[in-house]
């Protein structure tokens, strides 16, 4: 069982069971303190807002808000095809402050996507997945975990907007499940498996509900915890890598890795804690303010025979919608559905490329944890182009697609349809 041992060693690399037991500070074994560095291996640089922008922390705070508001909504929502829409409507209009819970949940979901992407950008532009000068670092594991969390975030957003069973949710789910169907060979079977039938109905709604409220958040909590923990075991933020390190993890001489005296370093914990509290409060306040000033009206109830015209997905999926609408291609006598090309192949390739980036990066160790290092110029440009393309597609589809998916300038008036 050598493979298994090697694999499990990799997953917890950097963690030494014996040393952990022997550690003199008891608090080090407490879960929360484990996340917040009390060890003597933290530098001022890794607290710096300028470096990390605290984006990961912000995402974690938003996720907490989502869990709380989600739980509140679970007590009012009925996952049934007949009643789902009306229970959401009740939540919005009948329960005092129900609108606030619902809108805060939705705004936070949007914010979570935005900040997850920003966090991805930060990590990419600073090359934080690199090994740098450290020996016992596996930055790529956390990079991959991060990509998984990005996928989980989008999956939660998608399943979440199906639940109200309104026009947008219903037709979004129709298109989503037909993208599954467009996979060659296994597509039909897979769609049947997901739907529990041939049509979108009760079986599908309750599955999506269970996945949205339990499976996905649970996985997210697990992977966020692992993400934090890995970061600690990798020796904290990647930015330390550029400091001259002589003593490897050793604190015997009273010197810390960062070259500070032990006591001096320990005093830092309150500073970090203070920052965490400030970031959490600011994020929460921001989300609440947005909720108060941005109104997100409820759609019309689902009409299974008539989609809205144009039927647009929520903004974070618009780029995919534009792709599936324009990538149907002919190969010889075969026509390949754009749903497969634009909805599966292209996003799949993008994710694969992202996941493999750490392995093809051959910039020098000095480029680790530095914003826009010269040696990574080409990667950064490629990344920026892809990101801008996606953002442009979103704006294009939002403003320039009218009834029957015809191109209109944003200032043109759409003709009457239906």
């Amino acid at each position: 069982m050598g493979v298994w041992n090697r694999l499990s060693d990799k997953i917890v690399s950097g963690w030494d069971a014996a040393a952990s037991l022997q550690k003199s500070d008891a608090i080090d074994r407490i879960f929360w303190i484990h996340f917040i560095p009390t060890d003597n291996d933290v530098t001022r640089e890794s607290y710096s807002i300028r470096y990390s922008l605290y984006l990961g922390t912000i995402v974690a705070v938003i996720f907490t808000i989502l869990c709380a508001t989600g739980f509140m909504q679970m007590m009012r929502y009925v996952p049934s095809v007949e009643r789902a829409y009306w229970s959401v409507k009740d939540l919005q209009f009948i329960y005092p402050f129900g609108w606030f819970i619902r809108d805060l949940h939705r705004i936070s979901a949007y914010l979570m996507i935005v900040f997850v992407v920003l966090h991805l950008c930060r990590t990419f532009y600073t090359g934080a997945f690199k090994k740098g000068g450290r020996k016992k670092t596996n930055g790529w594991i956390n990079w991959m975990t991060g990509i998984l969390l990005l996928v989980l975030t989008l999956a939660m957003a998608f399943t979440g907007y199906v639940l109200p069973w309104d026009q947008v949710g219903f037709w979004g789910a129709t298109i989503g499940t037909n993208i599954i169907k467009s996979i060659p060979v296994i597509g039909d079977w897979l769609r049947y498996f997901v739907l529990g039938g041939n049509e979108l109905g009760q079986n599908f709604l309750i599955r999506i509900y269970a996945v949205h409220v339990l499976l996905l958040p649970l996985l997210t909590v697990l992977f966020i915890s692992y993400h934090f923990w890995r970061n600690r075991k990798d020796g904290g933020m990647a930015c330390e890598d550029n400091l001259p390190v002589d003593t490897a993890q050793g604190t015997e001489s009273g010197q810390t890795v960062s070259g500070l005296q032990k006591d001096e370093a320990l005093k830092r914990t309150p500073m970090f804690l203070k920052r965490l509290i400030w970031v959490s409060l600011a994020t929460t306040a921001f989300a609440i303010l947005l909720t108060l000033f941005v109104s997100l009206p409820l759609n019309a109830p689902a009409n299974p025979v008539m989609a809205e015209n144009p039927a647009k997905a929520p903004w974070f999926l618009l780029w995919l919608q534009e792709l599936v609408a324009s990538t149907t291609i002919s190969v010889g006598q075969y026509r390949i559905n754009g749903g497969f090309v634009g909805g599966m192949v292209i996003p799949g390739l993008l994710l694969t490329w992202l996941a493999l980036v750490p392995f093809f990066d051959n910039s020098p160790p000095e480029a680790t944890g530095v914003w826009f290092h010269r040696s990574r110029l080409r990667q950064n440009i490629l990344f920026t182009i892809i990101l801008l393309a996606i953002i442009c597609l979103i704006f294009f589809t939002y403003f320039c697609r009218g009834p029957n998916w015809v191109f209109f300038w944003p200032w043109e008036v759409w003709p009457e349809v239906h």
Partner: protein, 167 residues
């Protein structure tokens, strides 16, 4: 090269066999449990009504998501589910008839089908001509019930779009 003793080989073989079977059964049951044995959905083969109840041209049946198309005493049925990603296509009566060549044949058409979701357009016989839809709207078999002379559409049987059922 490392040699494997017969006893060890058999041990490995047996444990893979036993645990493999257990895992396989679990996986099978798990996947299978997601497929209900009965579906509360409209059936795939159903009666759509008597011939005289239909008006000339496409008649949309929302429950089954098909068009029953009447041309005099000839009938055929087309799916209303867009072959791109499953939105519902609507029919569009043309102000004046249009002659188009579809798959080498010249046909005269009085209506066309449009999909709102990503702008696919279909000729009167269901063949797509613009937009992302990759294949034609399928035509389903039409027959008549021997009992009450009502028309029957069977979604399990896809027929050529040129086929007509005469009453």
């Amino acid at each position: 090269m490392k040699t494997v003793k017969r006893r060890n080989f058999l041990k490995i073989f047996a444990s893979i066999g036993i645990f493999g079977t257990m895992a396989g059964q679990t996986a099978y049951a798990l996947v299978k449990s997601f497929f209900p044995k009965a579906r509360y959905e409209p059936p795939q083969r159903f009666k759509v009504g008597s011939a005289y109840q239909f008006t000339d041209g496409p008649n949309f049946l929302a429950k089954h998501r098909i068009f029953v198309i009447k041309e005099g005493n000839k009938f055929h049925a087309l799916s209303s589910v867009c072959t791109h990603l499953g939105c519902n296509v609507t029919f569009n009566k043309l102000a004046k008839t249009k002659n188009v060549t579809v798959r080498g044949k010249e046909i005269e058409e009085k209506w066309e089908f449009n999909c709102a979701c990503h702008g696919s357009k279909f000729y009167g016989d269901g063949t797509p001509y613009t937009g992302p839809a990759p294949t034609p709207l399928p035509a389903y078999e039409v027959s008549v019930s021997a009992v009450d002379r009502k028309l029957i559409v069977d979604k399990n049987i896809v027929v050529d779009s040129g086929q007509r059922f005469t009453v």
